[in-house]
């Protein structure tokens, strides 16, 4: 019994001692991971709306191109997209700075932008890559959700004299959320896990920080388990929050059931 107790106290002492000095950097890294995910979520949702509307344009070639684009992105590894954007963006800036001419048959268009700083921000690249990844999956969900709203809603709003924009924002979107939420929240969980990839492009996120701590402490197992638990905790907490939001979005259906 005493040996058991000694073992336990020694174990906790050892754990507390190993944490000393590394708690704060880990917390900062976690906040970077979280902010990266949240910013990508907002940008990605916006992009998803753009993709969905482009995919449902009545001019078919644009719709096909958009579908081809989203299909291609979905078939590529996430790591490849992150690394390609990180490496491709400076090249694009150099190209813009040097200037190039677009031959347009009878005339040609020269594009040249003076760029002072070629050092791109890795955080920005991370947001670009992650929001793109989120958007290509979310646009699929949104398209399904829009299809689930019957066309009668549009017609009814038109009869009431609402403009198309007002109909879209006040009538269609509120109804669409409950169809879109399960898919969107699932992709949020995927996005959260994809943030680990940005450690490949020099962002000091949770993964990178863990690597740094391991280089000093030589305890890879302990620290990777801790990183894993942090990701797990974030996932579980966001799942709980999602459940609440989903419950609220179905609120009016529940009250209807109660009355029956």
């Amino acid at each position: 019994m005493t040996t058991m107790f000694n073992f336990l106290t020694n174990g906790t002492n050892w754990l507390v001692a190993s944490f000393e000095g590394y708690g704060l950097p880990l917390l900062q890294a976690t906040s970077i991971t979280l902010s990266l995910a949240l910013v990508s979520l907002v940008v990605g949702l916006f992009l998803a709306f753009v993709f969905t509307s482009l995919e449902s344009v009545s001019f078919k070639p644009i719709a096909w191109l958009m579908s081809l684009f989203t299909l291609t992105i979905r078939a590529l590894p996430e790591l490849l997209i992150v690394v390609a954007i990180y490496n491709g963006l400076p090249l694009l800036l150099i190209l813009l700075n040097d200037g190039f001419t677009l031959p347009l048959g009878f005339t040609s268009l020269t594009i040249q932008v003076d760029i002072a700083d070629f050092n791109i921000n890795p955080f920005l690249c991370g947001v670009m890559a992650l929001s793109l990844l989120y958007a290509v999956y979310a646009s699929q969900t949104l398209r399904g959700a829009f299809k689930a709203i019957s066309h009668g809603q549009w017609e009814a709003a038109q009869v009431l004299g609402l403009s198309r924009w007002r109909t879209f924002t006040r009538i269609i979107i509120p109804q669409m959320w409950r169809y879109a939420l399960p898919g969107l929240s699932n992709q949020w969980l995927i996005l959260l896990k994809d943030t680990a990839l940005v450690s490949a492009i020099a962002i000091n996120d949770l993964m990178m920080q863990t690597k740094g701590i391991i280089a000093r402490t030589k305890q890879p197992f302990l620290w990777y388990v801790i990183a894993m638990l942090i990701y797990l905790l974030i996932s579980i907490i966001s799942q709980k929050i999602i459940q609440r939001i989903e419950k609220r979005s179905l609120y009016f259906e529940q009250t209807a059931k109660k009355q029956l």
Binding site: P77, A84, A196, M207
Partner: protein
């Protein structure tokens, strides 16, 4: 430009054996493990169910990259203990094996969710029909699991593509796959067409796989029409 492109393609395709072997081995063993776990879950053993649920939460709740790093870099903390089991330690020192193990465990967790979901979606009448014929639970599972698996195929084909995409993460530990070769080339030449070449290869693999999965799905659901 095009000469360079074909040169890049040539170099990058040296990584195909590792990518394909990781993908194929991962898909096969994750599928088998998922079928076993699905059957175990359907037996409704309280302790075993809790254990399997915990496994699923851990492996679906954390990034694949952390799992790969944990399995590849983690064991070196216990070098003294592990060096007593040389064969086991040698296996855990091989990057290919670690990537394979992580991919399998990760994907099996997702696949179990898919398979078990479709098993639960099988109408109750099927189970009742089995028990009416005097079958016990095991015999009924033999009938119902294949049926549920066929229904799960369309969702499962997404997971197969995810495994292939996941193999790219193995390049972060020294596995010489397509992604690794393109990273090496990029370090040397710094040219965007390297990534286009790598993307083309992944596109081809995933496109072919999706087509194959669709054919299998059509064949196996023929009885429903």
């Amino acid at each position: 430009m095009s000469d360079n492109f074909f040169y890049y393609l040539q170099i990058i395709s040296k990584g195909l054996p590792d990518t394909l072997s990781l993908g194929a081995a991962g898909i096969l063993s994750a599928g088998i493990l998922a079928i076993i776990l699905t059957c175990l879950l359907s037996l409704n053993h309280p302790i075993m169910n809790k254990a399997i649920r915990a496994y699923i939460i851990i492996f679906t709740g954390s990034p694949l990259l952390v799992q790969i790093f944990l399995i590849y870099f983690g064991p070196s903390q216990f070098e003294v203990v592990l060096s007593r089991f040389p064969t086991f330690y040698a296996m855990l020192s091989s990057p290919w094996f670690c990537a394979y193990l992580a991919l399998t465990l990760n994907s099996a967790a997702y696949t179990t969710q898919i398979f078990y979901g479709s098993l639960k979606a099988v109408p109750l009448g099927q189970w009742q029909a089995c028990s009416a014929l005097g079958m016990n639970k095991k015999q009924a599972l033999k009938i119902i699991v294949p049926y549920a698996l066929k229904r799960a195929l369309s969702t499962y084909s997404n997971e197969v593509v995810f495994i292939i995409k996941g193999t790219a993460l193995a390049s972060m530990i020294p596995v010489m796959d397509v992604m690794k070769y393109s990273n090496i080339l990029n370090g040397e030449y710094y040219d965007f067409s390297i990534f286009i070449a790598a993307g083309l290869i992944y596109l081809l693999i995933n496109g072919l796989l999706s087509i194959i999965m669709r054919i299998i799905e059509k064949r196996s659901l023929v009885f429903e029409n």
